[in-house]
Symmetry: C5
Subunit: 379 residues, 5 copies
């Protein structure tokens, strides 16, 4: 009965399903949430996005010698920047349907593109419509708390002398280096036109993909170490979790390849020939990012194989112990049974050394068996 | 014997094959039915479709200022709408061979297309024949009761100033938003020609795919949660069931890509240049739907892996308990056997504390073993 | 010993390898045969085909108003039909090398094509050589007795005003509907030229693929039901068997796609522009057949997964029962051992109720364990 | 102890690892050797091939009426054949660097091609350089002793009126049918030019691929039969072995497709238009060979699945027996324990029929259990 | 208890998790390190590379008759070599940002290319910018100590009469054969232009890939032998380790294919028509390398399957032993229990030969069972 209590005790603390669930919970619940996000199909004709409370508009208006940076209250205030010879970057943070539509009407953006800007969960794409080049893609961020990849949709509209960017979240973007470089007189960015500004934006977005991948790579690495050290359910949950993040990653990177390829092949007059080379550079980077994400996937598959093998290995170990215990116990149990029979005539039963001989046999036979097993390379 | 009865009892209520079957039945029988539908190969030269009892014909005849909506009794009554400058949408609900053939003869639809309209289980496709643009595809609905995807074939014939749609089921379609918009004077739909009407139809059909996918996504998500919480046969049945729904989904979405791509590449005079942009928008959506269905597939594969792992895990747990029980019992059984032997001389047999010492050893050895196992990280 | 006899008995009737083999035999031996056929690589420069004993030649000679149908004894008798304005269908049943070569010489068929007609196991293909359009493909039949797909090679030679078909087996083909339609004066077939006749043949062959697939689909469906109800070795044999049939199917369908695509792209003068539309229709069908065969494959893979899962499930059930029996027996065995020891002083040994208390403990502990296991969700 | 001896005995003869190894050895060691060959990466700038001891040169010099066949001692003796109107086939057996270089210099073969001729382990390819068409591919032989595919590199140089072939091994090639046909006056081969000779060679090489595949197919078939009858380690070794042979096969066939495709697309003046049709025929054959090798692969995968399933099945059988034995023994052991306890008061202990009742219960309970298991469909 | 001690002992030496970890450690820790390297995503706009302490510049300045080889201290000293009719090879070992930028400015290398030269972890690529042909790829080395593939980035800039190479590590490269050949007057390398020098470099780099693959192939082969002989955790660790090396290999080889393909398609004036043939030769080699790496992958997959099968086999063996021991022990245990019951009337209990009969039965029944099992082909 002691064994049984011990077992029960053990159980409650080590092998109860509840505990496994407890291990799983932080990951798995989040995981289901993640699945929800990945599976999300966005109906595309209705704008389901909740309008932002407040639209922040920032305008950078510059040429190589002058820079003017203004915070605007209304979208209409940005309209005068359109037809000036200097380059303007009009950054709209927080998407508010009426403002975006007003801007679209003024800048001659096609209604379908306005719809795309306002919609959610779009696949990255580029379009050239009526003298405007439009890119929609996602900026990725790595959330260190949840170890997950977050995305924010950004729309870039490249016109004759201006670039308009529409972002969802005013609190973050990846364009701080642009803001820094714009402050430097005669910097390359200040000398070149709006297309170079657009290139710089795409370059920063793609570079940030690498940053996110590096963080994710660190997670994969630590998951691998965990799998090697101790393959438990938690490792499996981590592998599953990371696989989902890789789906998010790939879903964002793969179409950006086409997007940038489209810009390079485009013969739009908005793009200076000298800038094409720069877009080709971004293209090389996005190809590299794609290759890398494939490598990540290979590593994950190989890790899952490793996990399964380790789990099997542990189980095989348990099986071996069982087999050996069963074999070693066999003679002792049988000998005990033999001399426990209630026959009148049991040889050596009345012998003084009988008991010791029997117990000796009980001890020696297992030792001999162990030697045999050892020789056979069983353990 | 108590153990045995207990076992039997347990069995009848918990592990009997019948019970598993009972779990499986609602899903699996339906599943086989589904397989039947998926595997269905439709002979294509004979029209096996049973003729509809009644053909309902509705005509919307409009330009930007006037709208006339009529319910017709006979297909011949729709013929005058053909050669008028306004746009006509002739919606035929319920396919009746003689009516369709009459309409085909009047509107100059090629006999092969008439055959396609009347046939069943066709692969989505588009065709341009003799001044007519023909699209055949399926509308998908999500049946919330059976959690399955249902499909209804629709044929869209775009002519000079008219669009004819042939549907199987009069009780449902996805065109209600069109009916709403048609009622609004000077709405975009009313201002533009028949090609824009055709675009709106395809757009609504594709948008409805997203709606269906969202519902299916919710099923996948709940299946995943079930797999994580409690991996039993029922979860497996659900995974199998969902895999089949994904086959249905993919089978419908993949060829629609080619269909819409074909319309964009088409140089038909029926399509206004301004409308091309709208078809490109639908093309973006269908690509997105396809990508999404691939993501669904990845999630399903990853879920099946999770299921298998969970099932293995549970079994490993059982194995561990067996191994531990076997080991813990070993010394007690052997000690009991040793002192149960009928030798005359058994040391400590006449000692008052002999019994208590033996039982103490029986209890202490398992405790010591538990400590050893614990240290070794066995549980 | 009773247990042992029982076991042996059980064994002979239920689990002996011989029995499994008996299950397997009808399928597996046939299966190996099938593998032989699938793996068959036919050396291509020697004609290994055994010449048919008898060549049956049937000629249909028709225009829209007249039809002449003749059974010929010799291949030479068909030669006059060549240069007449009416359309001739010369159907050669049973391939006899000298006859085929004679016909080839007369109709100007290239020696390489003659070789192809006479060879076996060719991959479907089309060729345009010296004013002749040549198609080689297989007619598929479904053998309901063996549930397997049988194939018969057919060569179709389309010339200026004639179609020559070479078949292996005089007893069957898929052209009966043609024979029916030919009897109808002014039927479309009678009005159009030889290219339309050729289209009708390909259409019937491809339509018959759907018929075969439907039959195979029914087999797959019944196999699935068997797997769900009772996953035994027989189901595995069936799955393996069906996988081989799918290889046969795919091997025949995939290249026919290229064949018909080639006819559509061909600019041969033998093909009327009006007929191209009909070939496109056949092309749509063969694409659909190919898609369907991919769906069949997906269903088979999913079924095999289901099988493996069911087998594992059964084994897990057995493991659980073992674990539970082991645990439930543990206390009874130990208690029996404890009170079986031959010490002089055994507490409660002389107590009248000692025996009943011990047996009571033996019964109560398992019951308590069962309750514990139940609560833990173990079964 | 008897059990134990029995077990040991059993072991030495049936389950010892050594025995498994013995099974594996003939295959596996060879297998590693094979892996070595497959993995062999040949550095390509140094000619590592050991020069042949002796170069055998045979020249066939022919037109439709004359044939001259000569064995040459030196490569220089073949030089006069170059500029004659008749066709010459110069067959060089045994590759000796100085000879090949001398020939290369005379016939205007580019140094890089000379390097290719002398190198080993090259990927099949074709090249057109300076008025010469060069093909490098492998002849495959099936070694019936080791059941493995052997390869011999052959270089075919097609010039204006000559074909030079370079082979490694003088003892064998696949060109005997050419030698036969050359002896026949006015045979097609004798009437046509050097390009037709080149076609005949490629045709024979590709036909021989089918011969090798047929032999390999027979091995696969016999392996499948073995797997079905008796899935043991030996079958696994065979499957692994055959998988490697398939890699060798595919590695040789896949690039030959491109090679012959290249010849067909080539616009070299060396190729008569009439011969193109023949190369297309070879192309059809090599496509067929490739398809077939894919089928072989599918069969192998399906066979491996079968193997794994059979092994699992056997194990499940063992598990079932264990479970049943455990359950059947349970009551007897417990009953024995109950009445073996040393209490003073044991009911029925002094009853004459007590012993027989207990033993009867020991026998009846298992029988009852067997009936129960049977009903539940457990075995 | 002896059994238990033996078990414990056994355990510590043979099956303890620590030991498995010890096996794994040298591989796995390195493995994680490797994963880190493979997963490394390099942000590309900042130059993160640490500047080399010292830049070594070596210039080979040659035409067919003269060779001048100089070690330079400063990058500026290499500038005069630019505009001379002879060919110059300027080899820069150790990348120092200011030096590279100075050289870039002088030789007219685009700033983006300068960035690429200085960056790390780039994907191999080629570019043609402003009269310069730029190749970036990796040289691979095989580290025999760690059995891993190491890579060093090299940038090759081909200008009018010069080739500039930028290497990271001054201590090693694969260009020694070039240095040898340059010393030989009138060698082909000395006679041809800078494009031939560039070809020679690419050829040597690609040839070295084969060298590395051969070494890796030897590792794979020895791993396979280990798997066949003794499938333990160490083998699994090796397989995982090798899989990662194959990812590194493929990652380097695949894009080099595009690189060299790009050079062949390039119409740059820097490339002599005669040299194209040589680049095609390199292209053949890199295709072969790629094919080979695919073969490596197939072998690895097949090896992993073999491993899993062997592990399962071992476990099955253990299971069989368990089953047999359980069955053989069954009768002895039950017989012991039967005659150990404390009934007054036990038949044959007072018989002299009772004990011997019972023990005889205990021995004979297992022997009979063994014979039965044997006949059934169980072991």
């Amino acid at each position: 009965m002691a064994a049984c209590i011990g077992l029960t005790f053990t159980h409650q603390h080590n092998m109860s399903p509840e505990k496994y669930l407890r291990y799983l919970v932080p990951f798995s619940l989040f995981g289901t949430e993640r699945t929800k996000q990945i599976l999300q199909a966005t109906p595309t004709d209705d704008v389901v996005r909740k309008d932002a409370d407040k639209t922040q508009i920032t305008v950078y208006h510059y040429d190589s010698t002058h820079l003017e940076s203004t915070e605007l209250q209304k979208v209409e205030e940005s309209f005068p920047f359109r037809d000036q010879p200097q380059v303007s970057w009009i950054n709209v943070d927080g998407l508010c349907k009426p403002d975006v539509e007003k801007a679209g009407a003024h800048y001659g953006i096609h209604p379908l593109i306005i719809e795309d800007i306002l919609s959610m969960g779009q696949r990255p794409k580029m379009d050239e419509v009526e003298g405007i080049l439009y890119c929609l893609l996602n900026m990725l961020y790595f959330n260190s708390k949840t170890n997950s990849v977050e995305q924010e949709q950004i729309s870039i509209v490249l016109g004759q002398n201006y670039v308009i960017t529409f972002q969802e979240d005013p609190s973050r973007d990846v364009f701080d280096p642009i803001r820094e470089k714009l402050k430097i007189n005669n910097s390359k960015l200040r000398q070149r036109g709006a297309d170079y500004l657009c290139y710089t934006m795409l370059d920063l977005i793609v570079d940030n993909y690498f940053f996110v991948m590096e963080k994710l790579g660190a997670c994969i690495e630590s998951a691998e170490e965990e799998v090697i050290r101790n393959s438990n359910t938690r490792s499996l949950a981590r592998i599953n979790f990371l696989r989902k993040e890789l789906i998010v990653l790939k879903r964002n990177i793969a179409p950006v390849r086409d997007l940038i390829g489209g810009i390079i092949r485009s013969e739009s007059e908005l793009l200076d020939d000298r800038t094409t080379k720069y877009f080709k550079d971004v293209y090389d980077h996005i190809i590299q990012a794609y290759d890398l994400s494939e490598n990540y996937r290979d590593i994950m598959i190989s890790m899952q194989d490793l996990y399964i093998n380790n789990v099997n290995l542990k189980m095989n170990e348990v099986m071996k112990v069982m087999a050996i215990v069963t074999c070693l116990l066999a003679p002792a149990t049988v000998i005990g049974g033999v001399f426990g029979m209630n026959f009148d005539v049991i040889p050596t039963a009345h012998n003084t050394w009988g008991f010791y001989t029997a117990v000796g046999a009980m001890l020696l036979i297992p030792v001999w068996m162990l030697v045999m097993f050892k020789r056979r390379g069983w353990f």
